[in-house]
């Protein structure tokens, strides 16, 4: 039937609006149903509870980010295992960034929901979870670096901080920059900033090339 899909869709749409305006906790299911032109019972046919409704809005986009991160990290670790450490132009990092950005702006509303309106839901710590994933990755990666370049041993806290800052940069981006184009420009600067800061912490002054890397065209 067409109606099934329509009802569910209407509920999701109405929910997105309500959650965006009031946040998870203050959002009223009654309101959501009313604005969707549907009764409360209908909502509970499609969704287990308030949390499930919220999660349904952001689950898929969030999963895609996790997937991109996972792939990028796996690749980075493989390269480290193979002894290939720093590419000259950070092109891989740029590329992964642009991919993430593209995804984030494709579902910007949903990510804004997740980042700024999730308090009270089961996903209220989704951003922290991402930080933790980064954290673990950089921990592993830093181990590989340290084996090879003993001078670059990093403290746990520093790794954690890096993971945090990196995530914050994306959070800042999505909450403050409206369009993907501007976001890409911003990210180029931010990466430059971070890399410089990064090397600065080891007293190294890199030969930072002209900023390279353009986002790939997406379908």
């Amino acid at each position: 039937m067409k109606d099934e899909r329509e009802t569910r869709e209407k509920l999701l749409c109405s929910a997105k609006k309500e959650f965006s305006e009031k946040g998870f906790m203050k959002a009223s299911l009654r309101n959501i149903c009313k604005n969707a032109g549907v009764t409360t019972g209908a909502l509970y046919f499609f969704f287990k509870d308030k949390d499930d409704l919220f999660v349904s809005l952001v689950r898929e986009p969030l999963a895609r980010i996790h997937k991109i991160m996972s792939e990028h990290f796996t690749q980075e670790r493989q390269m480290a295992d193979e002894g290939a450490f720093l590419t000259q132009d950070f092109s891989d990092d740029y590329e992964a960034s642009f991919e993430v950005i593209h995804e984030l702006y494709l579902y910007r509303e949903e990510f804004l929901l997740l980042i700024t309106k999730a308090q009270g839901s089961s996903l209220e710590n989704a951003v922290d979870a991402i930080v933790e994933i980064s954290d673990r990755h950089y921990h592993t990666l830093a181990g590989a670096y340290a084996d090879r370049f003993p001078g670059m041993r990093m403290e746990e806290e520093t790794i954690h901080w890096i993971a945090h800052m990196q995530t914050d940069i994306f959070v800042y981006m999505i909450t403050h920059i409206e369009t993907e184009d501007e976001a890409v420009r911003y990210m180029k600067q931010a990466v430059r900033y971070m890399v410089m800061g990064w090397y600065g912490m080891f007293g190294i002054v890199p030969n930072l090339p002209e900023i390279a890397g353009e986002p790939k065209e997406k379908a």
Copy 2:
């Protein structure tokens, strides 16, 4: 009387606990009163409403941060007006940072409340407000720099980003680092990181000295 002070204090203490555990919105005034061994009416003798109770917990510490920032910013602008731009060792910045850190760790519980548990209260945007203050300050300051060093003209968005990142560094610190001592060490690194990143954005490589500046002893 002793009882007066005690009741109010007990309420504040109980409230701090409840807000910390559940956040502003989910916190229950009934619970707070019960745990304080007091009736609901008593609470409303001392506090106007739930929001007032929450605000009473963080008002004073927050005001002190605002004061320190205000003084530091005023001084910075005066120096810029007098033509003194960069001190060789960033000692002023360090000093101000340490002062802020000291305050933050003196009332760490309260600031954690303010930063992570205020959603739904009138102070839910207190951190944003601080960003905005920084933003306006750096905007003014950047104008002074640009007049003197035309190459250092910054875009509005960059200024906003700097203000944000700087604030985020403190937020990260207070939420992740337990003691003032560790925080000071962290801040030294972070300032180094930021300064490097900062200059990197203009293609300048400063002669960063050994990290200097120790926090002044507080009474």
Copy 3:
């Protein structure tokens, strides 16, 4: 379903009792629900709030009075426009009175609520509103009379007073007289009294006929 209607009805019944006993303000919704054998939530399914519950009890009867008044007044003004002023036997006035009385006694409990128990509700001035409607009508009507009989020009305050007294007569009736039959007898006297008083104010002594007019039989 049967239950739907029953619950709403039980609530209205219980509410009528509670409002009658305690008045709008002192009435307790908790009590109303308890006596209706229903939870508080159920009340709020059927009624927006306390005021809506009260208004729901008297809205319909009140509207019917307004309708009867409106029709009677319209007719009176039409007759005045056509030059027909005083019918010999006041039969129209009697008839309208009896119609109003019938309605008032059909829903006597509700009108008692409205007149004596509405303080604090949105209908606390319902009687004043009726006075005002009468007031405007007699103002218009008096203008027509004055055009025709210059000696009968009335002051604004007199008109206002007439409107008030007329309303008070009905208020007195419904609050003091138990049955419609007695009310009809009372009204015949009252109308006679008022008409006499009325003419007395202009120094006219009418040939008041034997009291005529009997209430029409209602279906």
Copy 4:
């Protein structure tokens, strides 16, 4: 001490304002105390409870009305006992009316409180009590008339109605007419109206004289 009196007076003043604005029930003692610049405890030194505070505002003026009525009624009954029934010009009635009016306008604010804002207090039926007093008086008086003029026997309900209407006339006056002067003019009309109506009920057409009677000058 001066302060004693002042505090009590300030409380009464503040209470009058609050009761006038919100009515007895909605009035808040807290508010009254706050506006009087006094604490709750102080109020309870001077007044037993909320009701006592309200009653204290209107007790004295109300007592004076009761006294005037009582004296007038006593005199009327004495005259009836002595066989003197109708004075030619109703001058006694006029005189008593003007006396009452004078009193009512001397404490108009208090009477407005009593008439329109007393719901919920022990004086919420003060007007009804006055009606009842009138009622009993006219009942007695009517008995005397009926003994003498058998045609003028009145029904209980008619007497009750007369008592009511007479009271309503004063209620209307005080709630709608601003000054004593206007009230006196109004009362002359109203008495004429009532007397005419009154005789009309018995089929008598009196020789109503030119309206006589002027209020006595009060100190």
